[in-house]
């Protein structure tokens, strides 16, 4: 009957987290052998797969190539089985084109593209299961895949969403929280320099609350960056152990 209570009086969210707590993050790098870089990312029930090819020569028309830096090509897609309702999702619909564009903008800000003039880097991300925060899962997965491919970046790109309920900012929204009304802000951060690669918000929010919301999102991104860092280090260790043998 009644809508969902996003934040209880005791300070617990729907799934039992507190306002600033992230969902459980799990990640693996180098999941595919054939690609130059790949990674699998879980943020709670949101699961994303990212694959990177390149840098390589610009495919297709030459006119697309840039003389001073690499072109980043992003493609975002969702698996048919990724949502509660099974649905065929054609490529190039408005939502995924928008998402592809956002990803492209994010990584153009992070990848040192000027090191590879006249070349191209392809990033393919697929959402395998969607439970809120698709964009941030994609960015985080793609970051790991880029690291796996050995493409130089300014920093990790960490992305996270933040919402607003009962005067409190909630970090890392799940699907129920995203759709339960209220605001959702996605933010991609380069944590070390604290510079923002991309910030996006559709809903209305009072200006006074924007700072708290950004603050919460940035905190969450920093938390994520630690996790990503540990994932990368662990992966390196595994790889070095393997190569030693």
């Amino acid at each position: 009957m009644a809508g969902l209570e996003l934040l209880s009086d005791q300070g617990y969210r729907l799934d039992g987290r507190k306002a600033s707590e992230l969902r459980k993050v799990q990640a693996r790098m180098g999941v595919f052998g054939q690609a130059d870089g790949s990674a699998y990312m879980e943020q709670g029930n949101t699961k994303a797969l990212a694959v990177v090819y390149g840098p390589h020569e610009v495919r297709g028309s030459r006119s697309k190539s840039l003389h001073d830096r690499a072109v980043i090509n992003c493609q975002y897609s969702m698996a048919t089985f990724s949502t509660a309702e099974r649905k065929r999702r054609p490529h190039g619909d408005r939502k995924s084109s928008e998402m592809s564009l956002h990803l492209k903008q994010t990584f153009e800000a992070a990848v040192l593209t000027q090191l590879y003039p006249r070349s191209q880097i392809d990033i393919y991300v697929k959402i395998l299961q969607s439970d809120g925060g698709n964009y941030s899962a994609c960015v985080n997965a793609a970051t790991l895949a880029l690291v796996d491919a050995g493409i130089p970046m300014r920093d990790y790109v960490c992305a996270c969403t933040a919402g607003f309920a009962e005067g409190t900012a909630l970090a890392d929204l799940c699907h129920a929280e995203e759709t339960g009304g209220g605001t959702a802000l996605s933010l991609a951060l380069l944590p070390r320099s604290q510079s923002i690669a991309l910030v996006q918000m559709d809903a209305r929010l009072h200006q006074d609350h924007l700072d708290t919301l950004m603050e919460a999102a940035m905190e969450a991104c920093k938390g994520l960056s630690k996790v990503l860092d540990s994932v990368v280090r662990q992966h390196l260790q595994e790889v070095s152990v393997l190569s030693r043998d």
């Binding site: 009644a2 209880s8 005791q10 799934d15 039992g16 459980k24 029930n45 509660a84 439970d131 799940c174």
Partner: protein, 948 residues
């Protein structure tokens, strides 16, 4: 930090979707007790020496109520005696789901510091979370979760070093649950008031009985209403007489009562009374329903009480309502009316309703109740997410359906009209509510307007009488732009007088059957609101081409009489004409000219002649028994810029008002005779039926209380006795009586002469009457013009004009529109009166008692023409002692003072804005006794506390 473990919860919505949600379990949720050393709670809520005086538990203990205890015995939990209670999250969620008001109350209790209520988030605690087992119902799982949590508490507290005898006690109403809990080694008790003797409250004993009936209701799927019969069975039922078909009319003051007006043969219809929600069975005002009559011993009398459905957004407030129904006063058998119940609905008459949203008490809720402005209509439940944006606005909602298990019909949001209290919004609301078509005219309609610049053509002049040389003038209220009548009077050579009434020839411009005509026929009448006019015909016609303004040539339909000096008609002549009005006067200007002896121009002389004749005519009319009635009418002086009312004034009547009126009546009667002569089957006439004698009861009784007698056997007798009813030293008494007499009257209606046999106009004491003189603002006059034009061979006829059935349906529409226009007008005046008093603040005024009711008196303040009710009883609170005598009628308050009709009292007038939708003028007595009446019938609702 947290240890998180991912669980998967599966819920199904619509049986299709599998929703997967994460569910984190934590081990940093504290028990909240002062005793505990293990939990790192900074400010524990539950006290060390938790002690509720109770016969069963003599040791300190914490209480854990289960869901049903909270739902049905919230009164007990709210008692200050109850302290140190653990409310489990499971319980809270279930309560929230089931009843919003109880949820709100328990939340308030939790927020109260002194009560030491603690919410334990057991669903996310690692040790108290339970998963639903296979084959286990959700309710059973919740019960088990509650038991597990209680058990955990017990064990947890035992570990504390200085817990002593501290235990937790589970409160439950469910026998099975109690047994299972005891098996687990828990202390479980059924919650009854007896257990807590220290809590001496009125709920002792009451709740126990109630709780059991409630349990039954909640376990069984709740069905509130009996099923509607299928149409086929209704039809056979109506044919064999077991059911009656009629129009459902809800009672606007009592939502548990309604009447069904059963259309009988001919004129006489009967009314069937319906009482109680079950018997009303989801019928909505104006629906066509089938009713079944109860046997005579179950007949009831309508209750005079005022009941407003103002329960919280709630499903279980219903029990109390159900209890209210049977307490129908079984009075004298003469008061009993046929009573029955609705068995089925033949035709729904739902329309979009204006009103306001009552936001649900749960903040995140998407379902809210909508309260229509029209009090005949029940509240409607709608689903919206933008509730917070719609609160305080007037919105339109349409009903979608009314399922059997729902207390309220379901509907959807249609449109937002704007902020409540805004003048534009409120005007829009009252137009919509009274079904007044007020959209701008469509292109199709406008395309039938004459091209501008328009001039009278040669052909027009050929077929019309040229009366431009006559000294015609018009007399109207100030600011009138749609002048539809003008007059002239001149002396003829033979010493007789020629009197002409010239009416704007609207039928020349509006040709039958085109879009313009159809639109006008649909609108029926122009609606005058305070500061706004909703035209029946486009402005070009109403204010320009048809308006008989001074010094321009205009087309007219003239009715010219030759009269002698005794105002006896010698000859009547109707003609289409061209006139040129010499002056547009106001009533005051015309009066000045007549009174000013120095003026001797043509216009003034003509006015004097008219005035003299009018006086004779009026005298003759009153001789015949025409009634002079009175109604307190007021005019507002509007601020020219803000259009806010700045002053109120009762309408003054001058001689010239009645002069114009007299000739209009004469013209109407002459035309009525003419068209009835020519078309005895299809003349459009107007009649005013004589009211049934019982209508006069109140008037006769009232007069008798002042030792006066009113005769009501004929109009003449009534008029005479009204004239004679004068009290010395009480000049306003006669007006009051006339106001009362007006309320006894029937509505005058249009009808088609071929469909009826009684033509009399009771109020005007005329055997035949019609409307001819205001074609710009009434469609009936346009039809009469057409009929008359055909009768004098000035215009052609068309089939619909001669079809009495078509005429009759047209009449029905016109009657409806007129009625609605009148209501809209009144509503507009009421709204502006409110605006006026809003700016005035609190006023003390003298007034007269107009009616005496069971729990209230109705007071008229003559100065403002304002009527208001003084209540003596406050809802839920014992009021002063009242004794009502229906034969007086009089009302005695506290045995000290008896109020009779027409008593002079002094009241304070305030604007009650507590219900923004129905802002009302409130009155409270100051003299002769102050303090007994209730200024506000209910105390302003407590501001709901914010949830956090």
């Amino acid at each position: 930090m947290l240890k998180s473990k991912t669980f998967v919860k599966k819920t199904r919505s619509g049986g299709v979707l599998k929703i997967v949600r994460e569910h984190y379990l934590r081990d940093d949720i504290w028990c909240g007790s002062e005793v505990c050393t293990e939990c790192k709670d900074d400010s524990p809520v539950l006290q060390r020496d938790a002690f509720i005086q109770s016969r069963l538990c003599t040791y300190p203990h914490y209480l854990i109520p289960d869901t049903n205890v909270v739902l049905h015995q919230i009164d007990i939990l709210e008692d200050p005696v109850m302290r140190n209670v653990v409310i489990l999250q499971t319980v809270l969620q279930e309560v929230r789901h089931r009843s919003a008001p109880v949820y709100k109350r328990i939340k308030d209790a939790i927020h109260e510091k002194e009560k030491h209520f603690y919410t334990f988030t057991n669903e996310h605690h690692r040790e108290t979370f339970v998963e639903r087992e296979q084959g286990e119902s959700a309710n059973d799982r919740n019960d088990r979760a509650i038991r597990v949590a209680a058990l955990w508490y017990n064990q947890h507290l035992r570990k504390a070093p200085c817990a002593g005898e501290l235990r937790v006690v589970l409160l439950t109403n469910d026998q099975a649950n109690k047994e299972k809990a005891t098996e687990d080694g828990l202390l479980a008790y059924r919650c009854t008031a007896r257990r807590f003797p220290s809590a001496q409250s009125p709920w002792q004993g009451v709740n126990h009985g109630r709780q059991i009936s409630l349990l039954n209701e909640i376990t069984g799927g709740r069905v509130l209403f009996p099923e509607h019969l299928p149409l086929s069975r209704i039809q056979t039922g109506i044919k064999n007489g077991t059911f009656l078909q009629g129009t459902f009319r809800a009672n606007r003051d009592n939502y548990l009562e309604a009447t069904v007006f059963v259309h009988g043969e001919g004129e006489d219809g009967t009314e069937v009374l319906l009482q109680g929600l079950q018997n009303l069975n989801r019928a909505v005002h104006q629906d066509i329903v089938a009713v079944e009559l109860f046997p005579r011993e179950r007949w009831a009398a309508p209750s005079a009480a005022v009941l407003e459905d103002d329960h919280a957004n709630d499903e279980d407030a219903e029990e109390e309502e159900a209890e209210k129904v049977p307490c129908v006063v079984r009075k004298k058998t003469s008061m009993l009316k046929p009573t029955g119940r609705v068995v089925g609905i033949i035709k729904r008459n739902w329309r979009p309703f204006c009103g306001m949203l009552t936001q649900s008490q749960i903040k995140e809720a998407t379902r809210h109740l909508f309260t229509p402005a029209d009090r005949h209509i029940p509240r409607i439940r709608i689903e919206t997410r933008q509730a917070s944006a719609l609160v305080g606005h007037r919105i339109i909602v349409a009903i979608d359906g009314w399922p059997r298990n729902s207390r309220y019909p379901n509907g959807h949001f249609v449109r937002n009209l704007g902020g409540a209290g805004d003048k534009e919004t409120e005007t829009e609301v009252l137009l919509l509510e009274h079904d007044v078509p007020h959209q701008p005219f469509s292109k199709a309609v406008l395309s039938f307007l004459p091209r501008m610049p328009w001039a009278i053509t040669e052909e027009d002049l050929k077929v019309r009488a040229d009366l431009r040389h006559l000294c015609v003038c018009s007399v109207d209220p100030p600011g009138c732009t749609d002048i539809d009548d003008a007059l002239h009077c001149r002396e003829l050579d033979n010493g007789n007088l020629e009197v002409g009434v010239h009416i704007a020839d609207v039928s020349h411009f509006i040709r039958p059957g085109n879009a313009l005509d159809q639109e006008a026929a649909n609108r029926g009448t122009t609606v005058y609101l305070c500061g706004k006019r909703i035209d029946m015909v486009p402005e070009l016609l109403s204010s320009d081409l048809c308006s008989l303004r001074s010094n321009v040539d205009r087309l007219a339909f003239s009715c010219v009489w030759e009269m002698n000096r005794n105002a006896e008609i010698i000859r009547t002549h109707f003609t289409k004409s061209v006139i040129n009005s010499k002056a547009s006067l106001t009533y005051a200007e015309a009066q000045m000219r007549i009174d000013d002896a120095t003026m001797n121009d043509d216009i003034t002389n003509s006015l004097r002649g008219l005035n003299a004749l009018a006086k004779i005519l009026k005298g003759r009319r009153i001789e015949k028994g025409a009634l002079t009635l009175s109604s307190p009418e007021v005019r507002f002086h509007m601020d020219s810029e803000t259009h806010d009312p700045i002053d109120l004034q009762t309408k003054e009547l001058k001689d010239t008002n009645s002069m114009v009126e007299e000739f209009m009546l004469l013209a109407n009667i002459s035309v009525a005779q003419k068209i009835y002569e020519e078309f005895s089957e299809c003349a459009l006439l107007r009649k005013h039926p004589a009211p049934p004698l019982s209508n006069y009861d109140i008037l006769v009784k009232a007069a008798k209380s002042r030792d006066l007698e009113i005769h009501t056997d004929s109009a003449k007798a009534l008029a005479d006795s009204l004239n004679a009813a004068v009290l010395g030293g009480f000049p306003y008494f006669n007006t009051l009586l006339r106001i009362l007499a007006t309320r006894c009257m029937m509505q005058a209606i249009y009808f088609c002469s071929g469909m009826d046999s009684d033509f009399r106009h009771y109020g005007l004491a005329s055997p035949i009457y019609t409307h001819f003189t205001s074609p710009i603002r009434r469609y009936s006059d346009i039809i009469v013009h057409r009929l008359l034009a055909v009768a004098i061979n000035a215009d052609g006829t068309y089939p619909d004009l001669m079809d009495k059935h078509k005429q009759s349906t047209l009449c029905n529409n016109l009657n409806y529109r007129h009625k609605m226009a009148q209501y809209a007008q009144r509503a507009s005046v009421a709204f502006h009166t409110q605006l006026f008093f809003k700016n005035k603040g609190i006023l003390n005024e003298e007034g007269f008692i107009l009616f005496v009711r069971k729990n209230a008196i109705i007071i008229l303040i003559a100065k403002f023409g304002l009527e208001g009710t003084v209540f003596f009883k406050n809802k839920g609170k014992p009021g002063p002692k009242l004794s009502f005598d229906s034969e007086g009628p009089s009302l005695t308050v506290e045995d000290q003072h008896t109020f009779h009709m027409f008593d002079k009292v002094k009241v304070t007038v305030t604007l009650d804005a507590s219900n923004i939708q129905h802002q009302k003028i409130r009155m409270a007595l100051v003299e002769p006794i102050a303090g007994v009446s209730v200024a506000w019938p209910e105390p302003a609702a407590k501001k709901p506390k914010l949830d956090r």
